[in-house]
């Protein structure tokens, strides 16, 4: 008898499930009942590492930080121009003193006042915690922070007129946190931050499920530079599989898909009449690194010859067809890169375009042949080229297969293409195992400096990130100098000169620049406003 009852219960439950399933609907947006601007749902595959800025230096965490924390400076939408945000003013008062005057009446969502003490606390704790996942390395130029009064902050800097400092204040190292909620000497737990309502950005967090869903509510007390949020509630849904995000944006389950749809998915979604694909300049770059010791004719090879090594690099630059890679492999979600600084940033140039190949950005085999012949290089030159299949997206294999194909077809090179998994790859590349290899870069802050100094400034005290044995004392001086030029025009000139020199020398071969791409429903507004050279996805600008 009991069993029969059980079977009936199962049958009723199943029928009920089907009935309820049939009745339920997947809805987003519009119906939330909010008075102001309704609701939007945004999907992403980026992951959050931590809500504490001291412990996070990744795209996913920065995305959240930009919505909930106040910054002293913020980028003007559509530009890479910095403006005071929660500051009234911010500028150098002395060569090594950067003074900030905060606005009056700043406060956090929990009611706590935001004063200069919080600013000092925010920077001091990062330097103290030095979490390896955090951005404390960006604060290398900071000597100390002073707070003469409640609204004045003085940053004492190590370098004179450090023009990168404003960029640092708007970077992952710049969020200002509440000293009553955050720990001074250790990373604060996500839930403590959410429960403590330690927010003073355009949004506060109303609901938080780690790497599943974040519900943002507009912050009525926000006093920063970005306009008040245009949409009252924004849900950020986290996906692990971009295919699922693609299906959801296609079906209207989410309003915007932000990072990272595959090139083929973007191409496919672009054909959907109900959707719009938004493209903006991207800070991500892809390039080939040359190891000056181990590349053909490198300093530590049996047939070392600096001139021949340079000719090999230049002939490779003549032979690659960047547009073909961008179109065939990345469906134009990447664009050709003709400089070491990406397009869109003040001071960026494109010296490789005119100097190599056909002068218009395309390849030129005859020019490559001449470069090698003039240097007395016998062809074909054997190149051992490495790429990584698991860190720069699944298309790296196709990208480097095409690079190999382009180089092989010239008849000037014979490319041995190999790949290595990331953990081993990152060890090997700095241990001189690879003569030439793939790398990519996301900027720490939107300034040309961030694409030059970490790569090409190399001293015993500050070795370069590349560790490829490129060291040029004259270049070191120029890189040092440009960061202290206060006059914008003169600084841009200096940056262009550096790019020109690097284009001749080619310690790395720039290939591609990533676009920022978002896919949205046709009714969503404001997406294009945030896809700018600041490389920040500001939810406050979105509405429908």
């Amino acid at each position: 008898m009991k069993r029969r009852t059980g079977a009936k219960a199962v049958a009723i439950a199943a029928a009920g499930a089907l009935l309820l399933s049939a009745c339920s609907t997947s809805t987003t947006g519009g119906d939330s009942g909010d008075d102001k601007g309704g609701m939007l749902t945004v999907g992403t595959t980026d992951k959050v590492v931590a809500l504490d800025p001291a412990a996070a230096y990744d795209n996913g965490s920065s995305l959240v930080e930009q919505q909930i924390y106040p910054y002293i400076l913020a980028y003007k939408p559509g530009t890479a121009e910095l403006n005071p945000s929660i500051a009234e003013s911010a500028d150098f008062t002395e060569p090594t003193k950067y003074e900030v005057k905060l606005k009056d009446g700043l406060k956090y969502a929990n009611g706590n006042e935001l004063t200069s003490s919080d600013v000092k606390f925010s920077f001091d704790r990062q330097l103290k915690i030095q979490d390896p996942n955090g951005p404390s390395s960006l604060l290398g130029g900071l000597k100390s922070v002073e707070t003469p009064d409640e609204t004045t902050v003085v940053f004492n800097l190590k370098r004179k007129n450090d023009q990168t400092w404003p960029g640092v204040l708007a970077s992952a190292a710049g969020p200002i946190v509440d000293e009553d909620v955050f720990s001074a000497d250790k990373v604060t737990e996500n839930q403590e931050i959410v429960d403590g309502k330690a927010f003073a950005g355009p949004y506060t967090i109303d609901g938080f499920k780690f790497n599943e869903l974040i519900t943002y509510k507009s912050n009525p007390d926000y006093q920063g530079f970005i306009e008040p949020a245009k949409t009252e509630t924004v849900q950020m849904k986290y996906y692990s599989d971009a295919n699922n995000m693609k299906l959801d944006v296609q079906e209207g389950t989410i309003d915007v898909a932000w990072r990272s749809l595959s090139a083929t998915d973007i191409d496919d979604l672009g054909k959907n009449e109900d959707l719009k694909v938004h493209k903006g300049p991207g800070g991500e770059i892809r390039y080939i690194v040359f190891n000056y010791d181990t590349m053909p004719f490198g300093a530590k090879t049996d047939n070392a010859d600096e001139k021949k090594a340079l000719a090999v690099r230049q002939a490779m630059a003549d032979s690659v067809d960047r547009q073909a890679i961008a179109t065939q492999v990345y469906k134009d979600t990447f664009t050709p890169l003709y400089s070491h600084v990406p397009e869109g940033l003040p001071g960026s140039d494109d010296p490789l375009k005119a100097e190599y190949g056909d002068g218009k950005g395309g390849a030129d085999v005859d020019k490559a042949k001449k470069a090698l012949k003039d240097a007395g290089v016998k062809t074909p030159v054997e190149l051992n080229l490495q790429y990584n299949p698991d860190h720069y997206g699944p298309s790296s294999g196709d990208e480097y297969a095409l690079v190999k194909d382009q180089l092989d077809k010239t008849g000037l090179f014979k490319v041995n293409l190999q790949s290595t998994e990331w953990v081993q790859y990152s060890k090997d590349r700095t241990d001189d195992v690879y003569p030439m290899y793939q790398l990519g870069w996301f900027p720490d802050y939107s300034d040309a400096d961030n694409y030059l100094v970490p790569f090409f400034y190399d001293t015993d005290e500050t070795p370069s990130f590349l560790a490829n044995h490129y060291r040029d004392e004259a270049m070191n001086k120029e890189l040092n100098a440009q960061s202290s030029i206060a006059d914008e025009g003169k600084r841009e000139e200096a940056l262009k000169k550096i790019q020109g020199q690097l284009a001749e020398e080619l310690p790395t071969l720039p290939l591609l620049q990533g676009n920022q791409i978002a896919v949205s429903g046709k009714d969503v507004k404001g997406v294009d406003d945030t896809l700018d050279p600041a490389f920040q996805f500001r939810l406050a600008l979105l509405s429908k």
Binding site: R3, V10, A17, C23, T25, S26, V49, N133, T215, S240
Partner: protein
């Protein structure tokens, strides 16, 4: 007649007791021995997982090796104690496990015990739904096959069963997504609920983390419907495999039972074949299903890793795949050991239930 059948059984039981008594036989001893066997099983599994995970090096280097300088890495490895002798670390790990401390994930700093708590319920819920699918499909179809044994419907159902358990779960998942997500978009293909449901669930006070239970608790039928709608495809993808096993098992056992003497007696009394199958033969045929349930649940947990990843069902399998990709061996180790404990305990419970129902399986 029933007395005549029960008597030999009783005799056998008595004989069995007479033989086993000196070594303390019976249900109590069986339960105790089976429970004690769990300890070495878990110990061996834990040891294996620990050392296998460490073959490739320490967890910090594995998770963060590509992002830190050599000096930063050495500092982190030293601070976490991963530069100490491996046996010291192993015994410390065991000690912490006994205290319920599964460690802290390297990649996102989450305590593994909170990962187990937050995501374990989702996996259990998925396995529950899949078991319902397996029962709903497997048992009636098994009975149908037995009823039509050696005829066309039986052959068709047997082929279906083979297809069911031979189809890789991720493949079934992708096909379901293709059908119900692309061609006929009537069912959700990702997550445990819409963003609204997730939002509501994030605010449920004292959540059980079982969405089905929490939705009923808060009395929100729209959420309940949404939760069930999201469960349909992953439950089918995962449940079909077990349904195939159940179908074959029910069919085989039912056919065996239908050849028993007491069924023949029923036939001679004029009871219809349909009634014999549905009334008299199916209950004994279900007993073996309980005995294979433990193994099936273990297989389902393994299948859940792929199902959860395919359908963004944020359970332990989903997190396991995520942490594997991030090479976070502390989190992977914690989840694998936890799943091993769950499988061992499930097998123990199933064995106890089987022994309770069928005394022949006792020691």
């Amino acid at each position: 007649m029933s007395a005549a059948i029960s008597e030999p059984g009783a005799e056998a039981a008595e004989t069995s007791v007479a033989v086993k008594k000196p070594s303390g036989g019976g249900l109590g001893r069986y339960v105790l021995v089976r429970f004690l066997l769990i300890i070495p099983t878990i110990f061996i599994l834990t040891t294996l997982v620990f050392f296998l995970m460490r073959i490739t090096g320490d967890p910090i280097t594995a998770a963060l090796g590509g992002r830190l300088t050599k000096a930063q890495l050495a500092e982190r490895v030293h601070a976490a104690g991963y530069d100490r002798p491996i046996l010291v670390q192993y015994f410390e790990y065991l000690g912490n496990l006994l205290k319920g401390d599964f460690g802290t994930a390297v990649s996102d700093g989450q305590p593994v015990s909170s990962i187990l708590l937050n995501y374990g319920a989702a996996t259990v819920e998925l396995v529950f739904y899949a078991l319902i699918v397996a029962f709903i499909l497997g048992i009636p179809l098994g009975m149908l096959a037995a009823y039509h044994r050696d005829k066309a419907p039986d052959a068709a159902l047997r082929v279906l069963a083979i297809l069911g358990y031979a189809t890789p779960v991720f493949f079934a998942g992708m096909i379901l997504k293709l059908i119900f997500g692309v061609f006929l978009p009537i069912l959700p293909v990702a997550g445990r609920g819409t963003t609204e449901t997730e939002y509501i669930m994030s605010g449920v006070v004292g959540p059980t983390r079982f969405y089905l239970i929490d939705a009923i608790r808060i009395g929100n039928f729209e959420v309940l419907g949404d939760v069930l709608a999201h469960a349909v495809l992953p439950a089918i993808a995962l449940g079909v495999l077990t349904a195939g096993v159940f179908l074959r098992l029910v069919r085989t056992n039912l056919i065996g039972t239908l050849e028993q003497q007491y069924i023949d007696s029923g036939r001679s009394r004029g009871i219809s074949e349909y009634r014999l199958v549905t009334k008299h033969a199916y209950r004994p045929a279900l007993i073996p299903i309980i005995t294979v349930m433990g193994m099936q649940i273990a297989l389902m947990l393994a299948g859940a890793v792929l199902t959860e990843t395919t359908f963004e069902w944020k359970g332990l399998g989903f997190k396991l795949a995520e942490y594997l990709t991030a090479r976070d061996f502390v989190a992977v180790q914690g989840i694998v050991v936890f799943l091993a404990i769950i499988v061992a305990l499930t097998n123990f419970l199933v064995d106890v239930i089987a022994a309770f129902i069928d005394p022949r399986v006792r020691y």
